[in-house]
Symmetry: C2
Subunit: 620 residues, 2 copies
Amino acid sequence: MTSQVDAGALTAVLDGRWAELRGRLRDRMTATKLADSYDLDRETHRAQVFEQLRELVAAGHPKLGFDREYGGAGDVGGSVVSFQLLGYGDLSLMVKAGVQWGLFGGAVQMLGTRRHHERYLPGIMSLDVPGCFAMTESGHGSDVQHLRTTATFRDGEFVLDTPDDDARKDYIGNAARDGRMAVVFAQLVIGDRSYGVHAFLVPIRDEAGRPMPGVRIEDCGPKAGLNGVDNGRLWFSGVRVPREALLNRYADVAPDGTYSSPIESDGRRFFTMLGALVRGRVSVAGSAGSATQRALTIGVRRAETRRQFARPGGDEEIVLLDYLAHQRKLLPALATTYALHFAQEELVTMLHEVHTSSSPDERAQRVLESRAAGIKAVATWHATATIQAVREACGGAGYLAENLLPGLKADTDVFTTFEGDNTVLLQLVAKGLLTDYRDNFADLSPLATARLVAEQLMGAVLERWPAPKLGSPSLFDRQWQRDLFADREQHVLAGLARRLRAAASSDRDPFDVFNDAQDHVLLAGRVHIDRLVLEAFVSAIERCADSSARALLERVCDLHVLSNIEADRGWFLEHGRLTPPVAKKVVAEVGALCKELRPHARTLVDAFAIPEQYVVTSLG
Amino acid sequence: MTSQVDAGALTAVLDGRWAELRGRLRDRMTATKLADSYDLDRETHRAQVFEQLRELVAAGHPKLGFDREYGGAGDVGGSVVSFQLLGYGDLSLMVKAGVQWGLFGGAVQMLGTRRHHERYLPGIMSLDVPGCFAMTESGHGSDVQHLRTTATFRDGEFVLDTPDDDARKDYIGNAARDGRMAVVFAQLVIGDRSYGVHAFLVPIRDEAGRPMPGVRIEDCGPKAGLNGVDNGRLWFSGVRVPREALLNRYADVAPDGTYSSPIESDGRRFFTMLGALVRGRVSVAGSAGSATQRALTIGVRRAETRRQFARPGGDEEIVLLDYLAHQRKLLPALATTYALHFAQEELVTMLHEVHTSSSPDERAQRVLESRAAGIKAVATWHATATIQAVREACGGAGYLAENLLPGLKADTDVFTTFEGDNTVLLQLVAKGLLTDYRDNFADLSPLATARLVAEQLMGAVLERWPAPKLGSPSLFDRQWQRDLFADREQHVLAGLARRLRAAASSDRDPFDVFNDAQDHVLLAGRVHIDRLVLEAFVSAIERCADSSARALLERVCDLHVLSNIEADRGWFLEHGRLTPPVAKKVVAEVGALCKELRPHARTLVDAFAIPEQYVVTSLG
């Protein structure tokens, strides 16, 4: 009972638009025997990761995402794909590279202008200028619009100050050990007036590695995972930087202190800046997917070799993956991992188009931000749940560090709350839907929705959604599945809009109105993403030329869809979308699909084509 | 908006029967300033834990569970409660103590006879004889009945051998560093015949700490957590131990090699031995609860102090716990933690009664084993999910080791698969239900159910369950809630029995019949435990004398019940137990209860009365 499907044919579909790059990166990863990291002390791990960063420089990794005129390759999508591939290895390296070239380098590139690019980008790419992205403060993580570090314009310079410990920069990667500069986000103050948050290039260490005058640096110490990344805290006390340190793409200050910006609203300007940094979030979603694929590969290999309990009346022991309970732990998660991979591919393409367009469309930018937020939230939660399930499926052996799952679990854990807290991100998705992306900036605040209520903005939403009729279901009819997902999204969103509008027309506090509906807001965000993910899967299947691979993908898609419906069948039943007999049939069919796909499990994980060195363990 | 309920009144209910002991242990923990462990290297951590074991000896901890005639206190339940309290601290210490006094000492006590007790128990209590519980092998973890180490009777001695690496003892606590002896489980062979698995006391290191001749020891190395416990591997090659090394409570071998046992069946004898060791499983459930309570205390304190995002139209920032989404992350989990605490209390009492009874009832023993298995599974999965939710609710700060959540998460992770894999344990529960505990041993095999099918044992089950009628629901009517849970259990079990019987009466392979129903088997186990947990909550409320505390507990119980129904409402709707409008109302009421209980959140966690040193972090 083995699969007749060619894993390579599946790999071709998975690899998508950047297949050639993926192939090259895989070959390089296979050729480079990277050292293990699971039993290193923290300082050794940090040193190793920094050395590996240098190897990435030598291999040309950082060039991908930067402009050609500074020695880059100008391949925005390829850059994100390269981070996704790094996600198969030590995630500390992926995050450290992401901090240096994605966040720090990306901020200089996207928020700076020619003077910054010419002066810094070559050194950023070559690692001569290791840097930090100093946005988060202890007191403000999600609500970065209100962070409290100040940059006061005085005597032709900016003076940076940390008013108190609540405003120290916290969890900043590259700060505790290696960073020489930082892009510091601070409230720009000129005279009596604050102009909102802007970004400044600030040296934090001298050539000898000592903190610059006025800069205090502290180590965040041991973390749950990612201990190869030197997260730290930064305080500024009267730190003077020249006027040119302002990353001035979206705003500038003249020598006489005159402020100018093409964007009038302080809030909108800040969120435009944030939006320009969307690449980091896309990269995290991608590497969460890679870690999930790696865990599933390890888990399926284990489940195919490990046996436990003899067959009744026989001596032969049963292979773990032959148990329905074991299939149910791994296979629906595997199907959804395929779905999210295709959604990620679409997201990367969208990012590439928007960020390489000569005339970027503002609405497209907002749709991109929304999708990046939603895919990141769904993909990282999926990673956490799946890696946990695989650990349990591997029993005690899965708890040993040498078998990699502990590291995968610990490292990916923070993905659900960094680069945007998932709960906040899903609210951003819902807000985009409620306003049809007409709102003028991607405010990360969950209260943006409350403001929306106050501003009575959602009238249009209700009219957009007619109540659709659903036909009698054939569970494997793809069109029925798509209609069901679309209908769920429309119904949840319309209900949310109606609820908010009704409450807003009363004289209740907008926060209370928002808060009472917060679980509906989150649900609206999630089911929207569920629909997009399904649509991405459908498109991917259409791209598959190999007929047997295509047939297999159709069944994988069915398992993804039906296990999604199964998990949410309470909603479908409550809202009359499924009848009880059909809901029971969904549950039964998930089991039947697990059984049907079981012989293909190994092929499905082999198709991820993860370089062997990252998936070989004593687990099988 | 603060709670008017006295936390102390709640503590009194939580503390239950062993309140006096809990009070003493808390005082001792408060007085003992235990060292932190989150930033120690492995060897230092192991050494520290071993030193702390000595402190526990000095404080009399180990005496609780052992018989008075060897210097113990004979308080079985108190012994388990003391492990539960240890669960508030470094879980490596709890596990190390559990290995020494629960598993190793417990095996000597429960499986040995006077000669072993006199010779070893004093040294086990005093830590002069550190020991291991060497049951699990690399190839056999859940299916311990088929482990492959042999103990061959030859020339009046037993000779222990590890036939191959698959049969090495693996993940054995106390083996890598400290153990001097081990209780080794091995197939007893006399002449040509094997008598099944028996336990032998085997010295593994000499006085100088060197492995004994023929014993090979290896370190399991770094693990996801619990790195203060020295897990290792053991191989035996021609290791000779005297005839008296057999722990001979349930079987003996005469000098001439004659085998005798009061229990005829090899399988039944082995599972009787396993059943005698149930205390370990009860202790794991208890400490999982403690870790969950600790995480929730940390999480609620954080959520009550941390603010993020200003109220629309105001400057004041919103306290995290005022967000519905945050309440939903923490409060239903808190309610279920209360429920599981009460269920644990009942389980400990049951254990105490059975294990201190002069005439132990066999059925009571099987019911105890079943309940221990089920509560352990549900409590440890709840711990994993809740600690994860708290970590996410604390954002980046929750990822820092100094804030304790990473350690809690990593240490408790293995609880879901050690002392019995949860998936296997729930099947044991279902099997007990299907046979009405008439089956003659607690076979851990999931295939025991398959055998059951083959043996057509479940006729009686169907007749026991009449289909009950449910009245029109008032969601807060406790009797309706209890009926609903009881009805769910009955319906799932009857359906399962019907399904198995129908399939078994065909000529299908019993394994296939079992396997197709495996998810129903797991569901049957879970909903049975859900009912018992609810009943335990109801009994606890009845014990509460303080009227305001009692009123609060009623609402906490409502939240526990309604969030359980909400999560499972797909099933209730499918089976016509709830109508769509009622199901929607359940969802709405969970939100409303979160809002209502929010002012009491701090009181509810304070009532756990965890010594302050274990819950103070920089998180709030």
